[in-house]
């Protein structure tokens, strides 16, 4: 064991003496964390299409028409799901807003003279900016509905006939008579305005009728809030980059030992190949654990990153390092020389990082790319890191990414170790 520790300590010592290796393992990720953190500062999670959950309790043609209109609105991805499931999604922070079309919504939409259509909006209070945007889209859709109604004499007439029957049933009064006169005239409002050539100047007829939609907003405290700030995301990415930098540096170290002749000395010493493998693995594990821990410590102390669970963060750090130690060993085999090891290491790491959210945060990527990212160990690493830093994973939720990471690590290490060339030339 002492020999393994001695060899691992030597490798770590050399890594930190190697300016280029140290740069890629520590400073490059740190610079990325600060750069992207600053770049995205002030933005909340704002994907191109905001996912909203929608519950239609009205189930009328009008409510379906409204939902269809919402689906066509740019910036929203509407998913109709049962209310309980939708509430759970809001609680979990997976959906920022739940919109519920309550019973009577469709009737009010078709006949806004007697009642304003109402929706309930359940929001995660941390997503206030997204909620504001959704509110705007809802109002816009309701306004468009009203405009369509006012410009369709047949629909308006049908609504007024129904309203006239109602008002005629009331006791006679001046107000009742004026209302009936107004209802009689209203289907012709559009054509009268057009006849006067004032269509554009009035901007439509909805100005006559107050707000087109009543929105009752309630808040549901998400149990898993989003990132406390942009650095929570960028530091998770930076930690991933320390793993990538560390694994590529260590994958080169075996080739370097071979080309510099020190592998020969090691093989002549009273140590076994198993000792050497264990030492390389331990060194890579130690270095990546140390650097990623140092980075997140910096994020916590200086950049106000607040992990939701420290024990799960420790677990994520360990599993991420195990995964990349295995990748290191596999890369060592593929690259016979230090140049080849470095080239192949970075050549594989960069596209996989891109796919796995190492460059652009996963939540900003298109859905298909997020799905494709499942093949990238970087995605699982980020998922584990983010799960502990801001996604608020439970232990059960953390098990999947951690199990994937450990499995990749063990598999890659085993394959690498079995195929490693121990010759010295």
């Amino acid at each position: 064991m002492n020999k393994i520790v001695a060899m691992a300590a030597k490798d770590i010592h050399i890594l930190f003496r190697d300016k280029l290796g140290f740069f890629f393992t520590v400073f490059f990720p740190l610079m990325m964390a600060i750069f992207f953190g600053a770049m995205f500062a002030g933005l909340s999670r704002g994907p191109a299409n905001i996912p909203i959950a929608l519950v239609d309790q009205d189930r009328t043609a009008a409510s379906e028409r409204f939902i269809e209109r919402l689906g066509q609105a740019s910036g929203l991805a509407v998913e109709e799901i049962p209310r309980e499931e939708a509430l759970e999604q809001v609680r979990r922070g997976r959906t920022a807003v739940l919109v519920t079309l309550t019973p009577g919504f469709g009737a009010a939409l078709d006949n806004p003279f007697v009642a304003t259509p109402e929706v309930e909006m359940t929001v995660d209070p941390t997503q206030f900016a997204v909620a504001g945007m959704v509110r705007g889209v809802l109002l816009e859709a309701a306004g468009a509905e009203l405009q369509d109604l006012m410009s369709d004499p047949a629909r308006l007439g049908a609504a007024n006939s129904q309203n006239s029957l109602f008002f005629e049933s009331l006791p006679p009064s001046d107000a009742r008579d004026q209302m009936l006169t107004f209802l009689d005239l209203s289907p012709r409002v559009s054509s009268l305005i057009d006849e006067m050539g004032l269509g554009a100047a009035t901007g439509g007829n909805q100005g006559f009728f107050g707000p087109p939609l009543e929105i009752e907003q309630t808040e549901v405290q998400a149990e898993r809030p989003g990132p406390t700030n942009s650095y929570a995301t960028s530091f998770a990415q930076a930690m991933l980059w320390t793993l990538i930098g560390g694994s590529v540096s260590f994958s080169m170290s075996i080739a370097i030992e071979r080309s510099r002749g020190t592998l020969m000395r090691l093989l002549v010493a009273p140590v076994t190949a198993r000792h050497l493998l264990a030492a390389k693995g331990l060194a890579c594990l130690g270095a990546t654990l140390f650097t990623s821990s140092a980075l997140i410590t910096l994020g916590i102390t200086v950049f106000d990153v607040r992990p939701t669970s420290y024990p799960l963060l420790a677990l994520a750090l360990l599993c991420g390092s195990i995964c990349f130690c295995g990748i290191m060993m596999a890369l060592s085999v593929i690259g016979g020389t230090e140049q080849a090891a470095a080239g192949i290491g970075w050549g594989l790491s960069l596209p996989l990082s891109m796919l796995g959210g190492g460059m652009v945060p996963l939540f900003l990527m298109p859905e298909w790319m997020q799905t494709l990212g499942n093949i990238s160990p970087m995605k699982w690493t980020l998922m584990a890191y983010e799960g502990a830093i801001w996604r608020g994973f439970t232990l059960n939720e953390m098990l999947l990414p951690c199990a994937v990471l450990v499995a990749i690590g063990v598999l890659a290490f085993t394959l690498g170790a079995r195929n490693l060339r121990w010759d010295t030339g």
Partner: protein, 284 residues
């Protein structure tokens, strides 16, 4: 005692070592002399267990043991200074020694004593903390040698330890090798410089194309295979060379015929031995 018993090793069609047999005694510097590609490094690699012979055996024997080169216990008793400088350049000389000492099981004060002794042996005490990348070529060579003896091995294998070093550093290395012999170590010294073999080695195995051509002490090899020496004589502007086994008699004969202004006797050497044994010069 290191024993090669009818050892052969091939790489594809190339027979790098062909039926090589020798024994290295305690307290001697044993030379493996031959041109580049003669099979010296392959023999060294088999001696330390990095390569396995195709035929024959390599053993480390004593009254008490008979070990394979790959035996972990055996590895503690041998030290190798590879032909290329094999050091961690990013760390200090002392740290290199400390690291390899730990691999050989040294700890605590024992380790520190050996580090100090090896730095002193390599004349690097003042620069022990300096990173190796800042060392001169000669300093790296001396450290390369010192690392091989950090664990005080019984057998030290030096594979062309003076390649690429200046004459001053070469002399420094010779002195270290002589110190090792005085310390009772077995030293296997490979070289293609006959002057080094002639100066340092108690016995020399001359190998060519993997085969052992001759093995004996330097004087015995010269006696057996060196042939006559050369008497170089200058008379006026002319210079002539005369092969002779009796330089004084030959000089007297030449003096009797005409006055000799200047003469020099060149005795036979290992270069002549190699030429006579192989028909080729050592540096071909």
């Amino acid at each position: 005692m290191l024993v090669f018993d009818h050892v052969s090793k091939s790489f594809g069609d190339l027979r790098a070592v062909d039926d090589l047999s020798f024994e290295v005694e305690a307290g001697e510097v044993f030379g493996l002399l031959g041109p580049n590609g003669a099979g010296k490094t392959t023999a060294i690699n088999m001696a330390v267990g990095l390569l396995e012979p195709d035929e024959g055996v390599v053993r480390f024997t004593d009254e008490a043991f008979d070990r394979d080169p790959r035996d972990a216990e055996n590895r503690r008793s041998l030290g190798l200074a590879p032909q290329s400088i094999a050091l961690y350049e990013q760390i200090g000389g002392a740290d290199n020694l400390r690291f390899f000492g730990r691999l050989h099981g040294l700890r605590g004060s024992d380790l520190e004593e050996r580090v100090v002794a090896c730095l002193d042996f390599a004349d690097l005490t003042d620069v022990g903390k300096k990173v190796v990348s800042k060392y001169s070529g000669g300093m790296k060579r001396r450290l390369n040698l010192a690392v091989a003896i950090i664990h005080d091995p019984e057998l030290v294998l030096l594979d062309e330890p003076t390649v690429g070093v200046d004459p001053q550093s070469r002399n420094a290395i010779f002195e270290r090798v002589e110190q090792l012999r005085e310390g009772g170590k077995q030293v296997v010294y490979t070289t293609h410089y006959m002057e080094e073999a002639q100066r340092l080695c108690d016995r020399v195995a001359i190998i060519d194309r993997g085969r052992l051509m001759a093995l004996d002490t330097v004087p015995a090899l010269i006696e057996a295979h060196g042939g006559p020496g050369n008497l170089v004589v200058r008379t006026g502007d002319s210079e002539s060379r005369h092969e002779t086994t009796d330089p004084l008699g030959t000089l007297a004969e030449l003096q009797a015929r005409q006055a000799v202004d200047h003469f020099q006797y060149l005795p036979p050497d290992l270069e002549a031995v190699f030429l006579n044994l192989t028909g080729r010069a050592l540096r071909d």
